[in-house]
């Protein structure tokens, strides 16, 4: 292990390190901690121009309560879920199939198709903006969650395919050969053998895609408007407009918007990190 494991270092260095850790974390998260503090301050603190002192009283409940009662925030959050979850399911399903095809079969355009998926995934999405918007409008899907979901599925398929294909590549190919000798059809191989083995990859990818999609802002702005369809990232801007300079509310709103992926991360940490590294490495 590098650097030298702590157990092998001097006592004073160990103590120094242990005490440096919390300081470093606080410094690192300072901007966020500030927002968290804002979100539990009563509005009177701000009107008094008193931004940085300790909250004069804990107003967390009323601030967060108002986020849910006085704004369309719940609606936006619901939208986010209704966009994110189908996207995750769709993208993972598609990429299981593409990953299987590209990972298991040797055929002429295998690498070409694979590279096309990767390249598409790396493309700056601005180049897709106008045509995708027109396409969505023409299909009557503008300002619908479905429109957003379909696009996200398609775009994420690039990344997911890269991920799945590399994962399947790493599976022992003998498993598939063994099955073929046993007379198991290709589809049965996919369904009964490869898919169960991909469970860890599916979990990791799902968590990852969940955060990607949840945090999307650009496409939310391009393809949706208003609280019927917009996810919370876009919703937060209109929330801000609604509450103007009420920093305690803005802070509470921001934290509410950030919470689901954060929770997701903490609950599924292992998968998440596996996803990040697995997806990109191979």
């Amino acid at each position: 292990m590098f650097p030298t494991p702590l157990e092998r270092t001097s006592r004073s260095w160990q103590i120094g390190y242990q005490s440096l850790l919390p300081v470093a974390v606080i410094a690192w998260l300072l901007p966020l901690l500030a927002v968290a503090m804002f979100s539990v301050k009563p509005s009177s603190d701000f009107t008094g121009g008193d931004y940085w002192s300790w909250p004069s009283r804990f107003a967390g409940f009323e601030n967060y309560g108002r986020v849910f009662t006085d704004s369309p925030m719940p609606r936006y959050i619901l939208n986010s879920f209704m966009i994110t979850i189908p996207t995750v399911i769709g993208a993972v399903a598609l990429s299981c199939m593409t990953g299987f095809a590209l990972g298991v079969y040797r055929f002429r355009f295998n690498l070409l198709v694979f590279f096309l998926f990767i390249a598409g995934n790396f493309v700056p999405f601005q180049i897709l903006m106008i045509p995708v918007r027109d396409l969505t409008i023409d299909a009557g899907l503008y300002n619908t969650k479905l429109g957003l979901v379909l696009f996200h599925i398609a775009f994420q398929t690039g990344f997911c395919t890269l991920f799945m294909r590399n994962f399947i590549r790493a599976l022992p190919f003998e498993l598939i050969e063994a099955a073929r000798v046993e007379g198991i059809t290709e589809f049965q191989i996919f369904w009964h053998i490869v898919l169960p083995l991909m469970k860890p990859a599916i979990a990791a990818l799902s968590v990852l895609i969940f955060t990607f999609i949840w945090n999307d802002y650009f496409w939310a702005v391009v393809l949706t408007q208003g609280p019927q369809a917009q996810p919370v990232t876009a919703g937060i801007t209109s929330f801000n407009a609604q509450f103007g300079v009420a920093y305690h509310m803005l802070s509470a709103g921001s934290i509410v918007a950030a919470l689901p992926p954060v929770l997701m991360f903490f609950l599924m940490q292992r998968h998440f990190i596996a996803g990040l590294t697995l997806g990109a490495v191979k």
């Binding site: 292990m1 590098f2 650097p3 850790l21 974390v25 690192w28 998260l29 300072l30 901007p31 500030a34 121009g49 940085w52 199939m97 593409t98 299987f100 095809a101 079969y105 055929f107 690498l111 198709v113 590279f115 096309l116 998926f117 990767i118 390249a119 790396f122 493309v123 700056p124 999405f125 601005q126 180049i127 897709l128 903006m129 106008i130 045509p131 379909l150 599925i153 398609a154 690039g158 395919t161 007379g183 059809t185 949840w214 945090n215 802002y217 650009f218 391009v222 990232t233 876009a234 937060i236 801000n240 920093y247 950030a258 954060v262 997701m264 991360f265 940490q269 990190i273 990040l276 590294t277």
Partner: protein, 304 residues
Amino acid sequence: MTDTTAAAPHHSWFHRNRKTITPWLFLLPGILFFSVYVIYPIIQSINLSFYKWDGLGEAEYVGTANYERLASDRAFTVSLFNNMKWLLLYLLAIPAGLFIALFLNQTVRGIRIYKSLFFFPFVISQVVVGLVFTWFYDPNFGLLNGILGAVGLGPINVLGDPALATYGIIAAGLWPQTAYCMILYLTGLNAVDPEQIEAARLDGAKGWRMLWHIIIPQLKPATFIAFVVTIIGALRSFDLISIMTNGGPFGSTRVLSFYMFEKALSEYGFRMGYGAAIAVVLFFIMLFFIAYFLWSMYQDEKGR
């Protein structure tokens, strides 16, 4: 003992060609989606960049006029230049991530929590990061000026100063990006062969020299990915700019992706063709990197 041979294989066309057909069947939905939403739009965008179109009426073919106009468009130059700044400075996330990863690569109690907390910024939406940093920089009550004031430095208006604003946004972007690189390096460090470190210890390499000669070369895969994701992140930067300055002050924080959006879809933008031309330029910049990534991956694939 002979059951398996009982059924004589029936030679339907599908049966004979199933090894050839199956992969395409599996690829079909993915390719379909991907073509409709990614491949075709790229072509369409390139095509659109030769038209003048306000997004409402009829498009008018104008040849390369949009591109010619780009050459004399100051806002475009500024955006391009800012993109370069993003590209270069965003790369700082890589050494910064490595540094934090090295700092956290210990086994002490609660280190997992610390690692998670350090990773935190990556999980939250860039919109929220943008808001958080906007307040952090606020010339009035921002924490930054509070800190600067405490050490006797004058207040600065980071996002209001065209000379600083872009750097301010990049710094905000580096926050999550560094976290990302950190995780990549942490997993990379896990994969470093302990025997090589031991061999190097026997060889008398310590500290920086160990890092430079033994560890960093072994982290090459992690560095490669960190490089890829950072470049992509830098060129895609949009959310932060949109939230933090909306391109301002007076357009000094625009980058191509933002400018393109502004030209094509924003409140005052009705130049779809022109926007497409900007996107095409961005695309070709990215294509340069994509080609490099694919080339490296191809080398790997060949090596198998």
